[in-house]
Every structure is written in C-alpha cells, then in structure tokens.
C-alpha cells in the first residue's frame, strides 16, 4: 500500500519533537479526524534553521511530517511557503489516493508556522 520511501520515513521519522522557544508554530488537523500536526520553526535571517514536528496520525501523516522537515530546512521563508502537498507526496514517491487529503497536512502546517512567525515579527 505504501511506497518504500513512505515506510522509510515512517519507521525513522526525521526531526520529530518540539523546539523550545520556537519562532513560529503551526497547528493543523484535529484529533477527531485522526490527524494532528504541530510544526515548530526557528528562523535566522529569513532562513529556516531548525524545524521539528509532533504528529498524531497514520503512517502517511507521520511520513509527510518527516518529509516536510527535510524539504524546509535551510530554505528561505518565501521558498518554504511555496512547498505544496503534491511536492511532499512526490518526494515520498507517492501516497495512496485516499490519504492525499486527510493525512497530507504537513505543507499546511509549515505554512501556518511561517505565517505565525511573520505575524509576530511584523
């Protein structure tokens, strides 16, 4: 059902946990739907220097959380905001169709974390 890449990230997800005193936090999903993500970022000179995620959810939710941290780390805020769900899914060599919408929340979580940071620094 899941690609090898998904399984790899699911088994050993990257950058899991939270950042103390983060510059931005993005929360997406709802435990009622079975998926909940919290994305924490550290920003220095417009660059995401650190990113961590906490995830409650299925295999796809955990794998996409892990993937988004790989995709976002070291990127400028503008670049990171452009990361889409489809890109996350593609980087994971595809997700089951049924999981594309419900569990693929990571890009949204990252976007919200960046927005949260930008609001604070405005």
């Amino acid at each position: 059902m899941y690609s090898k890449e998904v399984m790899k990230h699911f088994q050993e997800p990257h950058n899991m946990g939270e950042i103390k005193n983060p510059d931005g936090i993005g929360k997406v999903g709802n435990p009622m739907c079975g998926d909940l993500m919290e994305v924490y970022i550290k920003v220095k000179k417009n660059i995401i220097t650190d990113i961590k995620v906490k995830t409650f959810g299925c295999v796809a939710a955990i794998a996409t959380s892990s993937m988004i941290t790989d995709l976002a780390k070291g990127k400028s805020l503008e670049e990171a905001k452009k990361i889409t769900r489809d890109q996350v899914a593609k980087s994971l060599k595809g997700l089951p169709k049924i999981k594309m919408h419900c569990s693929n929340l990571a890009a949204e979580g990252l976007y919200k974390a960046i927005e949260n940071y930008q609001k604070k620094t405005k």
Binding site: M7, F10, G17, D35, M37, F56, I98
Partner: protein, 396 residues
C-alpha cells in the same frame, strides 16, 4: 531480518487447519460427483453431504434438515433477513447499531424497499437494552436480528433472553453467530433461535462455505434461484469439499480450546494494562468472546501501531478510520460512544487455539516499545484540550 510470526487477526479469518485440508483433498480430483447425480460418485457426495449436515446440526442442537449450506456468513445473513422479509412482503425489522455490515447493509437495502427498520442503541460495553428491544416490537415487527458476539469488541449479547422475548412476542429471531460459533455453547432450541448464521473460515475451516440454521417451521424466500438443492432454499451445486472441511473444522473445535484462549486473552489484557499506561479496554470485560481483545491506546493512531507491529511479524487489526476505505471510524466504536481520537487508537487482537503464551509475551514486549515511541512524537497527551466533534449519525 527474520521475525517471529504472530497472527492475532483470527476475527478476520483463521488459518485452515492442516487436518481440515487433508479431509478436503479427495473431494477435488477423486470424489468430484455432483450430489444431485444418480450414479455412484453422485451418491457418495450426497451421503457425505448429509452426514456433514447432521454433524453440524448436532453441534447446535438442530435437526439436519434445518441446516442450509451457503457460501458463508454474509450469504447466510442475506438469506435469513431478505428471506423473511420477502415472505412477509412488508413490515418492521429490529436490529442493532453494532451488527456486521452484511446485516446493516441488508437492512438498509430493505428500508429502501419500504420496510421499516429499527437500529437499537447499545451501551458503553456494547450491550443492547432488552427493555428498548421489547418496547420496539410492534404488531408490524416480523424479525429481530441481533448478533451473538460482536466481531470488533467481542461483547456477547444475551441471546437466550432475546430469544425468549421474541418467542413471547411471536416475532422471528435471527442471530449472526459467525464469531461465536464453537467459541460459545449454542443451543438453538434452548435459546429460541429461529435463524442463525455460521461460517467455516473463522473456525479454521476453508473460506467460501458457511451455513444458515433455519428452524423447520420458519418460512423464508430463497435468494439464489435455480436447482432444488438445500431443501429448495439455496440453488447451486453444493461445495462438497468446502462442506467436508467445514464439518471437520467443527469437529476439531473442542471445549478445552475455549479455556486456553480465555486464559491467554486475560493474560494479554492484564499484561497490556500493566505494561502500558493510558489504555482502555473496549467491550465487556465479563461477557466477552474468549479470543477477543480490543484496546484503545490513547494519544496514538491505530494504523501506525498496526504497521509497526506488522514490521515485527505481528498481525492485528484496528478500528481507526485511517485504515478504513471510507476514512470513517468503526461504526461499532462510535455506537459504544468512544470519542473519535480514542477510536482512532483502537487495536483488535483476536486469538486462536494455536496462540501461545510466547506469542502474547512477544506482542506485549513489542507493543510497549511501539506505543512509547509513537507517544513521544504525538502532540496529544493527558491534558490536551480536545475540540468537540460532531457525532456522525449518517451511518444508520
């Protein structure tokens, strides 16, 4: 890396006992006669068919002619419910909110055909309320269909009390006993059961064969038209190999297996509760199927746990929406009033007579580790403020 293989999904299906397979073998290439044929091969099949029928009938205290062989539980449920409905042409059917889909969907289909359907509520342990059942029976009621043991949470309904009530009210009583057959003693006469569905592949028999018990005096309309097989109630050449296998599986199921499974079930429950904090046993603790354990692990999601266990060679199932095709949580877990996030964290372990103490130890050891790791990365914890979701009532 090679892992130990532990199969705890016997509620889904079981391995065919090798002794069952052995007795089935001659019925493919050697004894392949059609039981309706008049030659030796046909007669041999016919005799075997009838012998099988009496063995299965005896197990539930029925008459041989009260057993109709089918392709399994789903067909038996369809035949019983539609069969009664079509004889009456109109009327009211009572069932529960935690039935197997082959009962719920059949009832919903009949509702579209103009029948009135009542889906009874269940309490937090999964029991129907007998008073509610009694109050629901009207002059129009033609059938009560309540499962014996629930496939997900293992709760065993008081079928003898239901049967007694139905008899008093002169309403037919059908029970889906697919999960409980050979795991609970069933006496159709004592329990006043009019119709009962059985399946072979849940008891180490082959897939694709089952039976419907139908009390002699009860009339049903056939659902598969054709030849006059099975008392003219189910057309189609009998699956002799399957029926022979089914019969052997019934004979191999012994009372001592119930005791063994019960002990291991209790051990699994108590070891999980001792080793892992924040769990919830779903279903009744006392009136529970001897091989069923259904536990919610708070703050984690079931599919993730299931896949981690699978990577360790352990097969289980989950009621989490994330693993279902429609992304809805199990209707059974919703009916017992579980909060969505707790339903998401549910796992079902179903044992068999082949399960060992070593298997249980291996499962608990791995489970402990997996839950710990998944909780570490979960944003949910004890004091998380849950937003209240809208209860989905569309299912029924």
């Amino acid at each position: 890396m090679k892992y130990k293989e532990v199969y705890l999904d016997n509620g889904a299906t079981t391995k065919t006992d090798s002794k069952v397979l052995e007795v089935m073998k001659p019925w493919f290439c050697k004894n392949y006669g059609n039981s309706s044929s008049l030659h030796k091969k046909g007669i041999h099949s016919k005799e075997t068919l009838e012998k099988s029928r009496s063995i299965i009938a005896k197990r539930i205290n029925a008459l041989p002619e009260e057993i109709i062989f089918t392709t399994g539980g789903s067909e038996s449920n369809n035949l019983a419910i539609k069969g009664v409905a079509q004889i009456h042409k109109t009327g009211h059917i009572i069932t529960s909110k935690i039935e197997h889909p082959s009962v719920i969907e059949t009832c919903k289909f009949l509702r579209k055909q103009g029948f009135e359907i009542t889906f009874l509520d269940v309490n937090k342990d999964g029991f129907i309320n007998l008073k509610q059942l009694e109050n629901s029976i009207t002059k129009r009621t033609i059938l009560v269909t309540i499962m014996h043991a629930n496939n997900e949470i293992g709760t065993i309904q008081p079928i003898e009390k239901i049967g007694k009530l139905c008899k008093e009210k002169q309403v037919l009583f059908h029970t889906d006993a697919v999960q409980s057959f050979t795991k609970e003693k069933i006496d159709v006469k004592k329990a006043n059961i009019d119709l009962m569905s059985l399946s072979a592949h849940k008891i180490h028999g082959p897939k694709g064969v089952g039976a419907l018990y139908k009390k002699k005096s009860v009339n049903i309309e056939k659902q598969i038209h054709g030849g006059h097989q099975e008392q003219n109630l189910r057309a189609g050449t009998e699956n002799i190999a399957g029926i022979v296998g089914f019969t052997k599986a019934v004979q191999l199921a012994k009372e001592e297996h119930i005791k063994k499974m019960t002990e291991l079930r209790d051990m699994l429950i108590s070891n999980i509760q001792q080793e892992i904090p924040d769990t919830k046993l779903n279903g009744s603790r006392e009136k529970r199927l001897c091989n069923n354990v259904n536990i919610s692990f708070k703050y984690v999601e079931g599919e993730g746990v299931l896949i981690h266990l699978d990577l360790k060679g352990i097969a289980v199932s989950t009621g989490s929406a994330c693993s279902s095709q429609n992304l809805k949580p199990s209707h059974v877990l919703m009916a017992i009033g579980l909060r969505h996030d707790i339903a998401h964290g549910s796992l079902r372990f179903t044992l068999s007579r082949f399960t060992t103490k070593k298997d249980i130890d291996y499962v608990v050891k791995n489970l402990k580790e997996i839950i710990k790791n998944l909780r570490k990365i979960s944003p949910l914890q004890k004091n998380y403020k849950y937003s209240v979701g809208v209860k989905d009532k569309s299912y029924w």
